[in-house]
Amino acid sequence: MPPVTTTATAAASTSPEVPADGLVVVVKQDCPTCRLVAPVLGDLGATVYTQDDPAFPPGVAVRDDTDLDASVALGIDVVPTLLRREGGRETARAEGWDRATWRELSGVADLGADLPEWKPGCGSRTHDPAVADAMLVRARGHELAARRVELAGLEDEAEALYDRGWTDGLPVVAPTPPRVLRMLAGTTRAPDEVVAVVPPNLVPATVEKVAINAVLAGCRPEYLPVVLAAVEAACAEEFNAHGLLATTWGAGPAVLVHGPIARRIGVNAGGNALGQGTRANSTIGRAVQLVIRNVGGGRPGEVDRATLGQPGKVGLCFAEDEEHSPWEPLSVERGVPAGASAVTVFASEGPRGVVDQISRTPESLARSLAVALRGVGHPKLAPGFDAVLVLSPEHVAVFDEAGWDRARFTTTLAELLLLPPEELARGADGIEEGMPEPTRPHPKFRREGLMVAVAGGGAGKFSAVLGGWVGGPGGSSPVTRIIEEA
């Protein structure tokens, strides 16, 4: 290790208190090496900063750096650090105690004659987790524009946030300034950048507002790019979030994650992909819903008029298992370049399972799945609502082994779901619901009204249908957005 580190590129200090010229030492009382070198500090003619105890070292004029501003400005990693500054720049640095180096730097030939030759230092207090939050807020708190709300000390945090109407009924994580700043570190986008104009109240949502709601939802910072893209997609005109919210039907926005970001941040596409237990799945969709609730003002009983709703409205997010799927990813079919990360937001009910443990031919299994898909909305309404079919690995394998690709499968499904008018008519099957006087076959789904994604655990000949809502210009269309920063 070279005894003297020359740091010509050291950041110029922004603190007026840091001396432009001369020697500087930074110490803390808590460090044994600092206490060891304390007796020589008076001989250096240096400016001494102390990080924890302004009375340390005794008998030396020290500058109080308990707020760590000087340590941050000087880029201190280790105490003691001895450094030389010339003309406002650092020209040499020694970390820990090294007698020869300290003598060379200070020009005091007999410095520390009674001390050992060498002793490593301790970590700077700037790296102490106990002060990390306060330092983060001091350094970057000015970037936060949201109104600060004080919770009284005797208020239970979870209760206080629920009482203010900020939650979906489940407890949320308090969006404190340090947590929001850490969340913002998950994106390269500026906190004041507007992400989308959020229905129903058409309120512009900044990256910061989305980050605050992502904290509430329990997201980790690395999820934020996905949440931002999903919010943007959910607020697109063609998604019609206002209509989806206001309808008495129970669907809500669901988030499908595509590409390498899914695996990188841990969005589950395997076993229990549509269930609980994976943080990314449980919190990303929830963050989108909280943005619509808190920023857009969309709340149940107000603009949200759902007759029944469904548990997926708390937040539904999963990924396609592109790694194990034999098929071209759904995202590529939707125009996303292969290998890119993206999200698709679509109107969704909760999943309904489809059992077929017997079919070994693609023809039979396709017919099974078509029968299940016919039930979306009502078996006698066509085209009714959009839907997403989540094909399990064991089911997609049946098609793949027979040489069926995605296009052949979806084309076959569309043929099987061209429903005869006599079955759709009002009154047919003794059911008054149905189509008024149909004269020709009707497709169950509009073009592009059925998306197919592959996900799920390795065992189980079960797939799932996610029913949607009115599709197309009169309702909601799925919206895909590429995650540029992924």
Partner: protein
């Protein structure tokens, strides 16, 4: 000892609209223009047709409006049109 205060950042749009007040109600509809807004849900027209008859009998002028689709908010122009042309509006919501 004072309890520590937790500071959190407001996740909402930070607008606290003043409570909305209900507009003044006319004493009588005779001689006034009543707008009937069909939001384009099935059978909303049945309800509004009957209302139109009843209102006309009572001396009101009836004007009919319709949203292009019930799934989306009313176009801003239509809202302005109704505001400019009517004293009162009745909206049919039901299926």
């Amino acid at each position: 000892m004072d309890s520590p205060v937790t500071v959190v950042l407001d996740p909402t749009d930070e607008s606290r609209p003043a409570a909305r007040t209900v507009g003044p109600r006319p004493d009588d509809l005779a001689g006034r223009t009543v707008g009937l807004l069909d939001i384009a849900k099935p059978r909303g027209d049945v309800f509004l047709d009957r209302l139109a008859d009843l209102l006309t009998e009572r001396g009101a002028t009836v004007r009919r409006y319709a949203k292009p689709t019930f799934t989306k908010p009313m176009p801003t122009d239509l809202r302005a049109e109704i505001t400019a042309e009517c004293d009162v509006v009745i909206e049919a919501l039901a299926d």
